[in-house]
Symmetry: C2
Subunit: 217 residues, 2 copies
DNA sequence: AGAGACCTTGACTGGTTGGTCAGGTCTGCT
DNA sequence: AGCAGACCTGACCAACCAGTCAAGGTCTCT
């Protein structure tokens, strides 16, 4: 019973190791999201993925190393999505696509978003270097693009940073504050609500910077 | 030395008690904001306000009770600010005033905002009742007002909830994600930047729902 | 089949934390 | 002055937690 996991077909050694690590990372992401780094316990993570606590320490040297891996994984997903902000496309298209993508992430990677929020909120002790390098660089390229749009008179003259923050904040709100949103909504958002919220956010942002949102969809 | 606090003139018994409690709450707010509930220790809070740990337990029965008081205090401040959303005023005025007020709160009560965000993000285990009663009620009155504006054709037809979330998210972002904002900004926001950010948020939101932002200020 | 690497796990440990308490100090009142 | 009650605090404790370990199981390769 031991080696082979419950419902998983056993593959090669490396495959199984990867699978187990992913199972632990998934469980850790949820537990860290629910309780924060300090509030999470290795035992809780172990329970969440049905492994003895000692196994976690076999695959990840320490709680902090495990946490770092969780945060890094989130950041990678976030970065991929960031590329949907196409620097070549028209402003309406680029912004619409980016906002829609981020809304999808908020719906599908709620825990990940929460872990990231937690980390940044507590001063980013683990991933400060990412903020200063990767995120900084990405932000600067997009700021440059938005500035170009402004220079070309295509959108209103605003500081691009405030616009980006607005998009990040609004979209991530649906993940980080999901509990509040769902309480006020008396239940989870329906597909139609997700779509309507996305369309509304796009509409306000686009119109807000002087663009014509055009036809929804 | 004991009874009288360092630089505080001793007042009446009740006054001194209140002062000490406030000092503890202030320290607790900062520590909880930095480390989360689980990560915060009573010792750290004690150190932050220069009192022996045992004193904290004299004034607050348990860590959880102290935390609850901290969160309740935040919520009250938040509620007060919420009243600047004047249900009688013109849409431009009411929204402008509300957004500006919330931006100010983000600047001046950063720790409080973080504690609130933490609490909600972790499923609001302590203040679920507030969400369901006070916040629900407040939200409904404002939703009704926004609906009226829509019915009168004064603003675009959008679901008011998405608008409120956008305002909450965007303004609170400057507190909760202050570390990220300041990293990307390579330093704290200047007064001028705060003002510019506020104006930009107001502008995008107002224009976004079909209003004329009018003259800044 | 046998060796050796890899994996699993219950039991254990040293350190930390929330919370307690007894004994002391101070304040305001009579 | 003297007393009662509020306030302060160092020392202590039980619970909990990250991390360790040794013993045993399983897989792969020859």
């Amino acid at each position: 019973m031991a080696q082979t996991e419950s419902a998983e077909k056993s593959g090669t050694r490396a495959e199984m190791r990867e699978e187990t690590e992913r199972a632990i990372l998934d469980a850790a992401e949820v537990v860290f999201a629910e309780a924060g780094f300090g509030g999470a316990t290795m035992q809780a993570i172990a329970d969440a993925c049905g492994l003895p606590k000692a196994n976690l320490h076999y695959y990840f040297a320490s709680k902090e190393k495990l946490y770092r891996r969780v945060v890094e994984r989130i950041f990678m997903i976030w970065l991929e999505a960031a590329d949907s902000f196409d620097t070549e496309a028209e402003p309406e298209i680029a912004l619409r696509r980016y906002i829609a993508r981020k809304m999808l992430l908020s719906r599908d990677y709620r825990s990940g978003s929460k872990v990231w929020a937690n980390e940044v909120m507590h001063g980013a002790p683990i991933i400060q270097d990412y903020l200063e390098t990767t995120l900084q660089a990405w932000t600067e390229t997009r700021v440059a693009v938005i500035r170009r749009w402004i220079a070309e008179g295509r959108i209103a003259a605003i500081d691009p940073k405030w616009l980006l923050y607005m998009i990040w904040a609004t979209t991530q709100h649906y993940a980080d504050f999901a509990h509040q949103v769902e309480t006020l909504n008396r239940g989870p958002l329906t597909d139609a609500q997700w779509q309507d919220a996305t369309e509304t956010v796009c509409g306000i942002v686009l119109r807000g910077i002087g663009l014509d949102p055009g036809a929804p969809r």
